[in-house]
Amino acid sequence: MPKDGIGASTKRREDLRFLTGNGKYTDDINLRGQAFVHFLRSDVAHGRINGIDTTVAADMPGVLRIFTAADFESAGGLPCGWQVTDKHGQPMQEPKHPILAEGKVRHVGDPIAAVVAETAEQARDAAEAIEVDIEELPAVIDMKAALAEGAPKVHDELTSNLCYDWGFVEENKAAVDEAFDKAAHVVSLELVNNRLVANPMEPRVAVGDYDPWGDQSTLYTTSQNPHVIRLLMGAFVLNIPEHKLRVVAPDVGGGFGSKIYHYAEEAFCTFAARALKRPVKWTCSRSEAFISDAQGRDHRTKMELALDADHNFTAIRTETYANMGAYLSTFAPSIPTWLHGTLMAGNYRTPLIYVNVKAVFTNTVPVDAYRGAGRPEATYQLERIIDKAARDLGVDPIALRRQNFIKPDQYPYQTPVAVVYDTGNYDATMDKLLEITDHAGFAARAAESANRGKLRGFGVASYIEACGIAPSNLVGQLGARAGLYESATIRVNATGSISVYTGSHSHGQGHETTFAQVVADMIGVDASTIEIHHGDTSNSPMGMGTYGSRSLAVGGSAIVRATNKVVDKAKKIAAHLLECAPEDIELKDGKFSVAGTDKSVDWSGVTLAAYVPHNYPLEDLEPGLEETAFYDPSNFTYPAGAYGCEVEIDPETGKVDIVGFAAADDFGNVVNPMIVEGQVHGGLAQGIGQALMENCVFDDSGQLLSGSFMDYAMPRADDFPGFKVDHSCNTPCTHNPLGVKGCGEAGAIGSPPAVVNAVIDALHRAGHTHVSHIDMPLTPSRVWAAMQK
């Protein structure tokens, strides 16, 4: 194995430029003749636009043009990439999502007009001078109120604010109800999964450019998936064919899901650049991001678990209200359904499951996938209700979990919610967790906390997620309007260095390092001779981008497949050079040799022959050494694990301190352990942030109360202890060539229930046995209030 091959904790090559301020982000792109756009956004949540007067604004200094909805009559609305069918077999209600508001504004932040000017300040000055006559309408914010008879409608053309009422698996509903009727024990819990703002470090930016001589449009954008943006914007919004449209997502400073979607600002900048024949740039401010980036979570759920007399889980029944916000963001309908209902079996052998989800339009910012996307919501429900069941039944919550775990000899395991788990070992990660948390020493630590007047508690959560999305034929049947394969081109250069073009996109994940390790390992050359390119539709094959912990499992598999093609061809060239049959060629440590002889040619000897084919089998083989492969997975991957949280509560203030947190994950094979550990750390920070701090709140009129970091509590480093992270218990994925499962979202999925379980545990140990649940975030105020009752 080369020193930077698979399994090495190679330092991230991209960090040198990131940490020295030399990354090239979209906002660093400034084109000659560039103009700037400022969006005038609605300051009311719901209103009818009776008129927009731009006469004063249009004459202000530097103003080039002011756009309103009327300018986009020839353009389509922003498309939704997933159609969900409701429990009656009917398609969801799918309202138009215009680039600029048409007739009505539907959430605070909805763009009404766009001013393009010579400078950003001039554009902003002029936007303030636009007079908009808005008749404010009653807003619907609460989901249940939005579904009430006679509620104001977010979209007048729809029959109601219900996007869909989904039942999964609808055919099982009667059997599930019957199991509940027969159950020895039924446990129920009402839960809120709090709305979150993604808040990547880099706000969104878009630069549109147009070359009239070649009729070429280019969009530079902060995206996790530039090919998807090219497809959606070109085909559905602006009617620009792919060969006339290039989308570039250069260095991107975090996404967490919020940069998957096709946003109005991207289409606007591309459109305006064509209209004005000048580059047009938009840079989102942090304040603007709070009201224009798609947000995450926001579920309200009634969860029920049925158990038999021996405490075996017999059925699960859930009813969830999922907030869509005012419009359907690109993948919004799929999150509370196919990414949530299919995970409701968790790590357990529950034979009957019925999941009902009502997706609701409200006058709030659109909601879509955010790190974990549906899977954290499923895990939170399951892992909270199992803890409550254990408490109600007077049994150990860990033992109750173990009793119901799917066992290692049961794979492949067909769940009652469509997915088939290929492999896993949940007892192994639980054992490892209890070891690394020093569970045996908890009692002594709790006593020591009590001496200091603090309440200590311990909570666990198991989790499983479906990653490596996704088999295209399966998701197509489920309503996806896209395939979910990944692509790679391996371009071997004449002197042996290798340029890899991947359809995945890196926005902090470290692909430039990890992917190079994979190729280096397969060929046996030094990773420093390999460069990973991504993010530009003009040079990489059609790819679907990065989200859903898919990049290594799907994108990495495409790279493996393309590398195998390269190696196969290189072996043929080597066989010619060494005058033997290709079957006799062995590749090891970057050298081709004839089996059983000392005859060999090194990697660069073969690559040079490919491009300088003087001694080359031209009649049988094309010159050159470049291969492209696409990989479409045959199943999801199923990372799983056990998380443990130890908290200390100050009973006088209600403040929860995380004093210990451990994660025992099964990610299958691991390419770069250091990067995996970092991914888990980041996920934990976001999951613990959701559990204790973060909350996106609108008031009854639809104004965002948590619209800045003064009120939206982003966790800081000192809010966490050091994390203990282990990924030694691994059961390799059985159906992809690397045996990898994905690690990007796990931390955010497994941690919220572990935190809440630990807090409830601490309160019960201290005698506050009336507290069966506290909704996230568990702020000091909420924890204190729960203790007072």
Binding site: M693, D711, S781, A785
Partner: protein
């Protein structure tokens, strides 16, 4: 940010003259003013920087009093007041984060009188005197409700004179997002008297908790406060805490401040 003129006078007189212009505004550390200008919520015609006036800088002892120049940063007070008035230095060292403490000033904080700011508690709890270009104002007369003070138009704080107590401490509970005070208490024990000031909790801004002062005058111990509560009425209720919670928290912080003062 809208366009404005910027001047940086070298003397108090120069600053006062510059501030006579219509819509002129003084700039101290800018930790509140600049973000509000970036949001276009504040649009001065002239910004008068107070950062170039030597008399407004520094910490010095004058008999029984510690004098802090109005344009002295929190970071400097945290360091330079540590020997003379450790309770005040500790308060300054807890404001914001290192970047805020490197820029923010005591005069700016007091003139702004944010109901969740730290310094108003330290000043009211110490019974300090606010010195301006025109007069001296007792702390008890200075704070005039949320974001309001006794300062007249164009009047600038030049220094703050702190009587040095025998003991003092500040106990602060963070609002989780901003890390301003969700509720915080400053207690100071002087010969024959005790002062207690609460910040972060009340809709009226910083206030003295006189019942606690009376109890602590009898016995400067946390136990002396047991059973004493603040009414929830008039306390701030928001995303981060109910009025009940803030009233409770203010009492907890007061006991902790007394314990910390020793």
């Amino acid at each position: 940010m809208y366009d404005f003129d910027f001047v940086k006078p070298g003397s108090i007189d120069g600053a006062v003259k510059a501030l006579a212009a219509e819509d002129a505004i003084p700039l101290a550390g800018g930790q509140t003013l600049l973000p509000s200008m970036k949001q276009r919520l504040n649009a001065p015609s002239v910004m008068v920087s107070l950062r170039g006036i030597p008399e407004l800088q520094g910490v010095c002892r004058d008999g029984d009093v510690l004098v802090v120049g109005a344009a002295t940063t929190h970071a400097r007070v945290a360091t330079e007041a540590a020997a003379e008035y450790p309770g005040l230095a500790a308060l300054a060292g807890q404001i914001g984060d290192p970047a805020v403490r490197a820029m923010g000033t005591i005069g700016g904080s007091l003139a702004n009188n944010d109901p969740s700011a730290c310094y108003p508690a330290g000043v009211l709890g110490s019974g300090a005197t606010i010195v301006t270009n025109a007069r001296e104002i007792a702390a008890d007369d200075f704070f005039d409700g949320m974001f309001a003070t006794a300062l007249e138009e164009g009047e600038i704080i030049t220094s703050v004179r702190f009587p040095i107590p025998q003991k003092a401490a500040y106990a602060k509970f963070h609002q989780p997002a901003s890390r301003f005070a969700l509720a915080a208490a400053f207690v100071a024990r002087f010969a024959g008297t005790v002062r207690v000031a609460i910040t972060g909790a009340s809709e009226g801004g910083v206030f003295r908790w006189t019942e606690a002062e009376a109890a602590l005058k009898e016995s400067f111990t946390p136990e002396a406060l047991s059973g004493l509560t603040l009414p929830a009425e008039g306390m701030i209720g928001d995303l981060h805490g109910t009025p009940d919670y803030r009233a409770h928290l203010a009492a907890v912080m007061t006991r902790r401040a007394v314990a910390a003062a020793g």
